[in-house]
Symmetry: C2
Subunit: 223 residues, 2 copies
């Protein structure tokens, strides 16, 4: 479902060039749970941005769900993301003017056009799965860090995307909540065949995934 | 240096009242490194906000560095924070329009009025301590998550505050960077007598601190 051929990414800051990814080739199958590990600055987020059609590689090809991402323009990339992907990224904050319920409902209204009654059912079941149904009428600034993260997980899963990309999904979570997020991923894989690709520094999580790719200075290390 | 007497915090959301902290009393001495642990939603951030004069308790008294925080108005609280405290909070993002160097220099210009040559020395030595001197002319959006966090640590320490408050300071860091941040705290304690109080879910950190307070549903659990 995800294939990369010789992907390189170079950031140009004025005169200085920094190579964040060097010749990355990998292939991830449908239904796999895959983690990217590696030290700070090794290229994990850059790799996720490229797989998520949020940034273009400098060289190399990227295919997700049979679609070549290199050829998409900005509008097509946004449409592709809405149809195929779910994101749990630090930068995708919850909308402060919407309640918890509305934040999770929002993708179903904007992207999938699902009728209200069906939306309510889907939202409440996902909020229950992350143990946040008791906070459904609160606004994001009335939640703790870990609670916001759990709402963001529910929002990413509510449209049943084929691929979910996440950048440190358990960074703000205690042990119990981290295990809950992981078992929810496994449940979505079993019930829907969803594929999960995420970065993490969390040793508890790295033990439980199907495969770990370790990055060092932009290169994949052979395990 | 930090004393709380029977601190309670109740959030009112319309009709609903939620008690985030119940009768918290604690005392932290100068130079201690103290961690707040506990599940998501247990009150850690709320407690840090009250000690940092960012929020007021519903009942009870708070003393930091001999000053009673309950009596401070908004302006006095801001002045108190600038003079006595350093913050490493998720919500205190780096300023996107300033470079890494300027983000760390900024508190020395705005708060302490230090001459330029002395500022440069202080900023470069702190950036070196968090291994970010090579990125000094970059802007925050050109850094990885862990790199931004390390710059935020340097910014919090550059004014040599008596107390540093941090909310999950190692959440986005790999093992090596997390250990570096902790040894920097220990160095600041030894050289300047700085006191550190932070929340964490990270078992690696909890083993290394002087004392751990565990919160559960807003109450301190006896260790
Ligand atoms: N502004 C607010 N209005 C209403 N309720 C709030 C507000 N801020 C926090 N709460 C509630 O108070 C409780 C404690 O929140 P707090 O942010 O202190 O938790 P925490 O221990 O830091 O959790 P985490 O590990 O998830 O960051 C939570 O149940 C949260 O929903
Ligand atoms: N927009 C950008 N412009 C210039 N350099 C960048 C940019 N974004 C990232 N970098 C650099 O590319 C390298 C890889 O960054 P990336 O964000 O992928 O790291 P990471 O593995 O996610 O690290 P972390 O664990 O700290 O989140 C870093 O050295 C960073 O400084
Ligand atoms: Mg990253
Ligand atoms: Mg918190």
């Amino acid at each position: 479902i995800i294939t990369l051929h010789n992907v390189t990414k170079v950031y140009k800051t004025g005169e200085v060039e920094q190579t964040a990814l060097k010749n990355i080739s990998l292939s991830i199958s449908r239904g796999e749970i895959v983690a990217f590990a590696g030290p700070s600055g090794s290229g994990k987020t850059t790799l996720l941005n490229i797989i998520g059609a949020m940034d273009r590689p400098t060289t190399g090809e990227v295919f997700v769900d049979g679609i070549k991402l290199n050829d998409l323009n900005r509008k097509q990339a946004a449409h592709f993301r809405g149809e195929h992907l779910g994101f749990i990224f630090q930068s995708f904050n919850l909308l402060p003017v919407l309640t918890v319920f509305e934040n999770v409902e929002y993708p179903l209204v904007m992207i999938k056009n699902v009728p209200a009654r069906k939306r309510k059912e889907a939202v409440l079941s996902l909020l229950a799965a992350v143990q946040m149904e008791g906070h459904k009428d609160k606004f994001p600034d009335q939640l703790s860090g870990g609670q916001k993260q759990r709402v963001a997980v529910a929002r990413a899963l509510v449209t049943h995307p084929g691929v979910v990309l996440a950048d440190e999904p358990t960074a703000n979570l205690d042990g119990k909540s981290a295990r809950m997020v992981l078992s929810l991923m496994i449940k979505m894989r079993v019930e829907l065949g969803a594929t999960f690709v995420f970065s993490t520094h969390d040793p508890r999580i790295l033990e439980e995934v199907d495969r770990v790719y370790t990055l060092e200075d932009g290169q994949l290390k052979i395990q």
